[in-house]
Symmetry: C2
Subunit: 219 residues, 2 copies
């Protein structure tokens, strides 16, 4: 007798029509969630906290998102999706792969600098879920890697990057390096200058690492 499950609604999208303030409510919830997740982590955050932070009622969350998981998923899809888009555009602004990489690194760390919470959510929470998020985050992650790998591959074809490195490995290394810097910055003291300086140094390190002619073997 308890089988009154109301899941019959064929529409899996709980997103209501965006009318007036409605559209900005979804946005409010998302940005509140970023704040709270960064503060407490995904699993330690209760839905009611997000609601309070967003200035809406608990139930309202469920008008815009299927459930708590999908709030996090939406953060990735919205924010990281946008980041990748911007990255693609940034890459197109130059034809020199070295400069492209430099801009990509600066772009990422710049974004992060002005939104520390997002940085924390991305670096920390990206890895939180077991299967669910792996499913949603991985495709984005792959897209990200493809952009980087594309730049490196181009550079190799143009002869400005050494060709004995797999673009995908190098892309992972770039991602990892940026992530590592973001992580220690997000967890540590919030000194913005340090971040920029680190970005600069990392770029130098990475670019020399990719350079086609070996430095004189010091030994």
């Amino acid at each position: 007798m308890t089988g009154r499950r109301r899941e019959s609604g064929a529409g899996t999208e709980p997103r209501p029509k965006r009318r007036g303030a409605s559209g900005d409510k979804r946005e409010r919830i998302l940005s509140a969630a970023i704040r709270v997740f960064a503060q407490n982590g995904f699993y330690s955050t209760r839905v009611s906290e997000i609601a309070t932070a967003a200035g809406v009622a608990d139930g309202t969350i469920y008008l815009y998102f299927e459930n708590k998981d999908h709030v996090l998923i939406s953060i990735f899809e919205d924010r990281i999706g946008k980041l990748i888009e911007v990255m693609r555009r940034t890459v197109k602004e130059s034809t020199d792969p070295r400069e492209q990489l430099q801009r990509v690194i600066a772009l990422q760390l710049g974004q992060v600098e002005e939104n520390r919470d997002l940085a924390e959510v991305v670096t920390v929470n990206l890895r939180q879920s077991s299967t669910l998020l792996k499913q949603y985050a991985t495709p984005l992650f792959v897209k990200y890697l493809e952009v980087i790998a594309g730049v490196i591959s181009d550079g190799q074809k143009q002869g400005v990057f050494r060709t004995d490195l797999s673009p995908r490995v190098a892309a992972r290394a770039l991602y990892g390096g940026v992530d590592g810097i973001m992580l220690t910055w997000a967890l540590g003291e919030p000194e913005p200058k340090a971040l920029r300086k680190a970005a600069q140094q990392f770029t130098t390190l990475f670019l020399r690492g990719l350079s086609p002619e070996a430095a004189p073997d010091a030994e």
Copy 2:
């Protein structure tokens, strides 16, 4: 119903909070936890699953660990602590900083290769808890970075590494790169050769990045 337990042996175990008991039970729980956490993630894993995987009763977990959180904490303290110890020893086996770095990278990815689950727990779960783990994982992380930074700093003094990079930034980049490679390997297909190859390439990339003499400036 295998009543087989009580493996006395020469058990001088100061480990359990309780009196001298079968010390191997704690170990069984830890390694089971690594397996299950890697599979499902920390928060999606119930204590009863760890217990089942370890072949003990639910309550037994609480004889060896304060609570679920501390199971994860103990994994870090035990395993990562050991890794850092081995790293330190490895570093001492050589005096050439370039070789030291190379060995450190190989060591880490080697460890990981033979224990994929641990890799996943380290890369993924390291970032799970909000405050609790930050508190326990950060000191270890700092120790780790210090070892790497120490090697780089030495190399700079010896003149085999460029001196315009902060050893700490470079250390973070190294960490990040290794982590990024581990992550994509842990999440992706389990091809061991790929890991070793990636390690090799990353080492090359990183060492050239650190080399003191610039490659011919390509631009």
